[in-house]
């Protein structure tokens, strides 16, 4: 058979996997819409700094660039991981490093008194960034748990499916991050 099996030709399990994959895509779309709200909110509130410092005063594209590189590389390792599972270990480390850098950035801001209570702009910034960060953290937790089960049970059908879903999730977060990098860290500096 050299065409993809149609629904009537699939086995019971294949059909179930096919549905799960599709459902996960739909879920990702709903998640994307939540981010869309946050992006819109950020755009609306970008200049609502309440007299305080704004994006160009506070944010550093350099740090965000480091994070971009970390996250893109981690997405690459996810691709490799689907070939050889050990690569997922590296994904985990890169994801954790990303979170570390992000937390450092937050710490610096808060340390200098720029909290999410300071202005509408900072509210939007912190909530957008930490929603993404929380997704990354959830992805890490999920990845960690799957890896434990892979160690215990091996690459069973259901574990492989879970890894495939996770990789979708991870690429999705990557794309959202590209948007964050562009909208939050680049556009304010170009004056758009």
């Amino acid at each position: 058979m050299n065409h993809a099996p149609t629904r009537d030709e699939m086995t019971h399990e294949e059909a179930a996997d096919d549905r799960t994959m599709f459902g996960f895509w739909v879920y990702l779309m709903t998640d994307l819409l939540m981010f869309a709200v946050l992006f819109a909110v950020f755009a609306v509130l970008l200049n609502s700094t309440d007299g305080g410092p704004g994006a160009t005063d506070l944010l550093s594209p350099q740090i965000a660039l480091i994070n971009t590189v970390l996250l893109l590389t981690s997405s690459f390792t996810v691709g490799l991981g689907l070939q050889a599972v050990t690569w997922f270990g590296l994904t985990f480390l890169l994801g954790a490093a990303f979170l570390g850098v992000e937390l450092y950035e937050f710490y610096e801001l808060i340390h200098h008194g720029h909290t999410m209570q300071s202005s509408a702009f900072l509210s939007a910034f912190f909530v957008l960034l930490s929603t993404h960060g929380l997704h990354i953290a959830a992805g890490l937790l999920w990845l960690g748990i799957i890896l434990i089960y892979v160690l215990k049970r091996g690459l069973t059908r259901s574990n492989v499916r879970k890894l495939a879903l996770l990789s979708l999730f991870w690429h999705f977060l990557d794309i959202v991050w590209i948007f964050i990098f562009t909208v939050v860290y680049l556009m304010p500096f170009t004056g758009v």
Partner: protein, 690 residues
């Protein structure tokens, strides 16, 4: 220390006003007597195993109906309280405080939209869609139970204020900012609003994803999209809209939550916040939401019209395209809810025109229904009567909607009682009548016996007459300048007679509700005579009628091959022979959805009262349960072909026995006979089975 364990909770939170005492005592008594009854009948295991932990969408559908029905009574009681207050307020003060009045209309709106309309619609989608598309279960049975139990958690949350806190939000059902911020709504009532909507809303999104998967991936072989029954199409459109807009609601509520709990400035008046942004976001969800509840009802009416006219749906394709059109356009019209709030003339015109455009596909639907009836052999059973009421009332609602879509007109009528009458025409005459039509249409399938026609007719007419008596005065009042959400007005306005008339209409509707309850009880009393022994009492056209009623847990002994739109009609014409039995895979029951929802409820409760440990524990609990569920690899079991044949044989024997009592030529029980026989029957019910 007390702070730590109990957060903001203290003695003053316990019920001490008349309505919280009445509510909490009433609910407690109801639950206690229910528990006592179950214990008396020794039915706890049965309840847990056969119902609460079931993954069978048919049973979950019925549970949606039960909870949604109870909530309908609760929301209806709210409505009567509001009506009575307004009727009295013209000469004196009424009997409610302003604060209490506001809480009631807020709760009324939330309950009717989230916990009644959505629930009843999900009930139908659960029960009917798999049967119509030739599926045995859903794409993700677990997600479905989870969605249902999250809904239940939301229901409990919205009623929680009777027990703790004594106040609900007083902001109107959409909690506009900045009114919903801490500055103007410091109390826990607002937090109950947040968490009951948030939790049930997430359940709705899960349901949406699940039914999209199911409809798009699990149709019987041969059923192309353009061969799908109209109700399935309406549901698909509705679920597509659910996944397109419920995430917006979720995120908007999260932002409001941040404003309230962490002092951020999204929608506040200080710190650069933008309250107008809330209005936009909430209506971007809110307008599509009214169509989310409308579309399945459209589908129901299309089924009803076609069955009771003995004709295939006329203009099926335009009908489907119209539903898709309605759902698409309705994503682009939200601004018509705030023409008056400062957008410039061009923006207002654009959204006004977009709104009016919806009338085109909607009219296409009406034309399709009328054309289906044209030259049909119409039989006026109750579902058909609901349809007639619907066409008229919904017509009025649509026309007044188009009026409101003209910005200069809306400047006069915005937030007046005219608006209230508009959307009740649609929500009652449209959504609710559709649901009632569906209930009487599918009752034989779901219960195994049809509902009493005679009392059903009385109920329909009470609703229709009551509706006009109740809402025509509101149109008039709106034109006279009466605004919505009014708890006092001056006698010199001369409005009181209209309010009184409206209240009387409300009482007639209440009579309709009572008649519906009587109808159900009378049908149960006569269930042997009303039994549906054919599986197809209306001589219908779609697959859900192709098996005996009620369907076995696996729905179909063999999945049918679909060759044409009204497959079942064709099967009857061709006298199709049943297919051979086969092994059937079914999902196992699971309690995971209950556990997760319980934790979600506790987390919400913890947030409301700021009990940090409870929140943390609950969230950890949710994660742990999810992980355990995710790695459980034995979620299915198999029913062998021989077992199936055995089950079918037993079923056939039962039906043979039932045939000797069933008779369709008898007149159904009337009200007088009901009053004569019901007490004895009730007495026997308690006596016999002990």
């Amino acid at each position: 220390m007390k702070e730590f364990w109990l957060g903001k909770l203290d003695w003053s939170a316990l019920p001490h006003e008349w309505f919280t005492i009445a509510g909490s005592v009433g609910i407690t008594l109801m639950l206690l007597s229910l528990a006592a009854f179950i214990t008396y009948k020794k039915s706890w295991t049965w309840l847990w195993k056969d119902w609460l932990t079931t993954v069978d969408p048919k049973k979950i559908g019925i549970m949606y109906f039960i909870v949604g029905g109870l909530m309908l009574a609760r929301g209806g009681l709210d409505a009567i309280m509001l009506w009575a207050h307004q009727a009295l307020a013209g000469s004196g003060e009424g009997y409610l405080t302003a604060q209490h009045y506001q809480e009631i209309f807020t709760a009324h709106g939330n309950i009717m939209v989230f916990f009644v309309a959505m629930a009843l619609i999900f009930g139908f989608v659960n029960y009917i869609v798999p049967l119509q598309i030739g599926a045995r279960d859903l794409a993700s049975p677990f997600m479905n139970t989870l969605g249902f139990w999250l809904y239940v958690a939301g229901v409990i949350m919205i009623n929680m204020f009777f027990f703790f806190g004594g106040e609900y939000a007083a902001t109107g059902w959409l909690a506009v900012a900045p009114l919903s911020g801490t500055e103007f709504s410091p109390g826990v009532g607002m937090d109950y609003w947040i968490w009951s909507l948030q939790i049930s809303g997430i359940g709705t999104t899960l349901g949406g994803i699940n039914f999209i998967m199911t409809i798009l991936k699990m149709r019987a072989p041969g059923m192309s999209l353009m061969k799908m029954p109209p109700f399935t199409w309406g549901s698909l459109c509705s679920m597509m809209m659910v996944v397109s807009v419920f995430p917006l609601l979720t995120m908007t509520i999260i932002l409001l939550f941040f404003d309230r709990y962490f002092g951020t400035h999204f929608f506040t008046t200080s710190g650069g916040g933008n309250p107008m942004m809330y209005t936009n976001l909430i209506w971007m969800w809110g307008h599509p939401e009214v169509y989310i509840i409308m579309l399945p009802s459209f589908g129901i009416f299309t089924e009803v019209v076609s069955t009771f006219s003995r004709k295939p749906v006329a203009f099926y394709k335009s009908n489907v395209i119209a539903m898709i059109g309605v759902s698409t356009i309705s994503l682009c019209v939200w601004l018509h809810h705030f023409f008056t709030m400062g957008a410039d003339a061009n923006v207002n015109s654009a959204f006004g025109v977009a709104t009016m455009l919806i009338a085109i596909p909607t009219s296409a639907l009406v034309i399709s229904w009328i054309a289906t009836m044209y030259k049909g052999r119409i039989s006026f059973k109750t579902p058909m009567l609901w349809l007639l009421g619907f066409v008229v009332i919904f017509g009025v609602g649509g026309i007044t909607g188009v009026l409101l879509a003209i910005p200069p007109v809306d400047f006069q009528l915005h937030n007046s009682l005219f608006l209230i009458a508009h959307f009740h025409s649609n929500a009652v005459g449209g959504v609710l009548f559709g649901i009632f039509a569906g209930l009487s249409y599918w009752a034989p399938k779901m219960l195994g016996f049809r509902l009493n026609e005679r009392i059903g007719r009385y109920a329909v007419w009470s609703w229709i007459v009551g509706f006009f008596v109740a809402f025509t005065p509101l149109y008039v009042l709106g034109l006279m300048g009466a605004t919505r959400r009014l708890d006092t007005y001056d006698a010199s306005t001369g409005w009181q007679p209209f309010f009184v008339m409206s209240f009387i209409g409300g009482l007639i509707i209440a009579l309709g509700v009572v008649l519906q309850v009587v109808q159900i009880i009378a049908s149960i009393m006569q269930r042997k005579q009303l039994a549906d022994t054919t599986g197809d009492p209306w001589n219908a056209r779609t697959l859900e009628w192709s098996m005996p009623s009620p369907p076995q847990e696996y729905n179909f002994t063999a999945i049918p091959e679909v060759t044409t739109r009204d497959v079942f009609w064709k099967m009857k014409e061709d006298n199709a022979q049943p297919l051979p039995y086969e092994d059937i895979h079914m999902p196992k029951r699971t309690a995971t959805g209950i556990y997760i929802s319980a934790f979600a409820f506790l987390a919400g409760f913890g947030f409301v009262w700021e009990i940090v440990w409870l929140v943390v524990v609950s969230i950890v609990g949710i994660i742990v349960v999810f992980v355990m569920k995710g790695f459980d690899e034995h979620a299915e079991y198999t029913i062998s072909a021989s077992k199936v044949s055995q089950m079918e044989a037993t079923r056939a024997k039962k039906i043979e026995e039932a045939k000797q009592y069933a008779r369709d030529d008898h007149e159904d029980m009337g009200l007088i006979e009901f009053m004569r026989t019901a007490p004895g029957w009730l007495f026997g019910l308690v006596r016999n089975k002990s």
